[in-house]
Subunit: 201 residues, 2 copies
């Protein structure tokens, strides 16, 4: 059965983005360090595997508008995401937004669909598109919290980095409700801990 999974990198002090997020710096001050493990030349086999596994088992993605494009940018026009012509998703990606827009077909199997009626609708559409595969909440933190809040997340991969940010956007803020986790798999690399939790309801 299709699971809804989510994955996100956090600092050791619990932030999914640094403070002062702007269009030029959508991850906030220091926030790019959370994703260093993914882009460094020192990426280990464990890290490669963690990324590959997330992408491979997932038949469709849901993404927040801040992850798709610049925070204050008018990306409803020509903006086609941060990832170049061939985004790494290779699957339908349902982008939450308040602005209707026609789907954008990219190379390699990625198509961005724009969903204006909220997280539950986006997940439902992703489920339909994913078939027997999983639906992946690609981020960011706000979208992940929205999905949690309505009980839509079955499993979460948290990449716990040794970074300290001191301030910013917390992955788990207050008011998350009565969420319980069960630790199901942990794979440490030299740079980061890949921890998978099942959401218990």
């Amino acid at each position: 059965m299709t699971k809804v999974t989510a994955q996100i990198s956090i600092s050791l002090d619990g932030f999914a983005a640094g403070p002062n997020q702007t269009e030029a710096d959508p991850l906030g001050a220091g926030g790019e360090r959370l994703h260093h493990w993914m882009f460094t030349d020192d990426k280990t086999a464990v890290d490669e595997e963690a990324v590959a596994e997330i992408l491979e088992g997932t038949g469709a993605f849901v993404m927040g508008r801040n992850m798709f494009g610049p925070i204050r940018g008018a990306w409803t026009g020509d903006w086609r995401g941060w990832w170049g012509d061939d985004p790494p998703y290779h699957a339908p990606v349902f982008v939450l937004t308040h602005h209707p827009r026609d789907p954008v077909v990219m190379e390699g199997g990625t198509t961005f669909f724009f969903v204006t009626d909220g997280i539950e609708s986006a997940v439902a559409r992703a489920r339909a598109a994913a078939g027997a595969q999983d639906v992946g909440i690609a981020g960011g933190a706000q979208t992940l919290r929205q999905a949690f809040a309505v009980g839509l997340v079955d499993e979460i991969d948290i990449h716990i980095t040794p970074v300290m940010l001191g301030a910013g956007e917390r992955l788990f803020g207050d008011g998350l409700g009565d969420v319980r986790f069960e630790q199901v798999a942990v794979r440490p690399s030299d740079n980061v801990i890949h921890a998978r939790y099942r959401v218990v309801r």
Copy 2:
């Protein structure tokens, strides 16, 4: 050379204690769940090893007053800690307090000394007592943050539990200063992730 180490259990959302800490409930609402892995009958060999290693290599401990006794209790009188006649430390323990008190000698090698002139003094006295062994900051979170703030912690063992508390006392609050960590060892058990970080200055 003697290192100053620290160890603490945290929730997945970054709390070292739950909300509403009281004398009857010094860990706050739900906070005892952070230490469940340590006391459960399901404790694995990995967990046993993590605890044993912390206790064995450590020649003296520093402890906050809230960890030693009830928060609002007058423990300067007869109070001898939470741990019975033979506490697990088997070494000198320097307890931070505002109230001078004669040392309390327990069974098994533990002696509680009471330090009224602050964290730096407590760590200095623990260093002298530890000889070639390490000094361990036993907790709680506030004492750990104090030691961090004055640059006294070399290494920290964080036991990352799958618990969500939603509110409480954060291990890493704001104003921790420019602390950087390096991941040095990670040992997951079935119940908890034992993660060791070196503090980089």
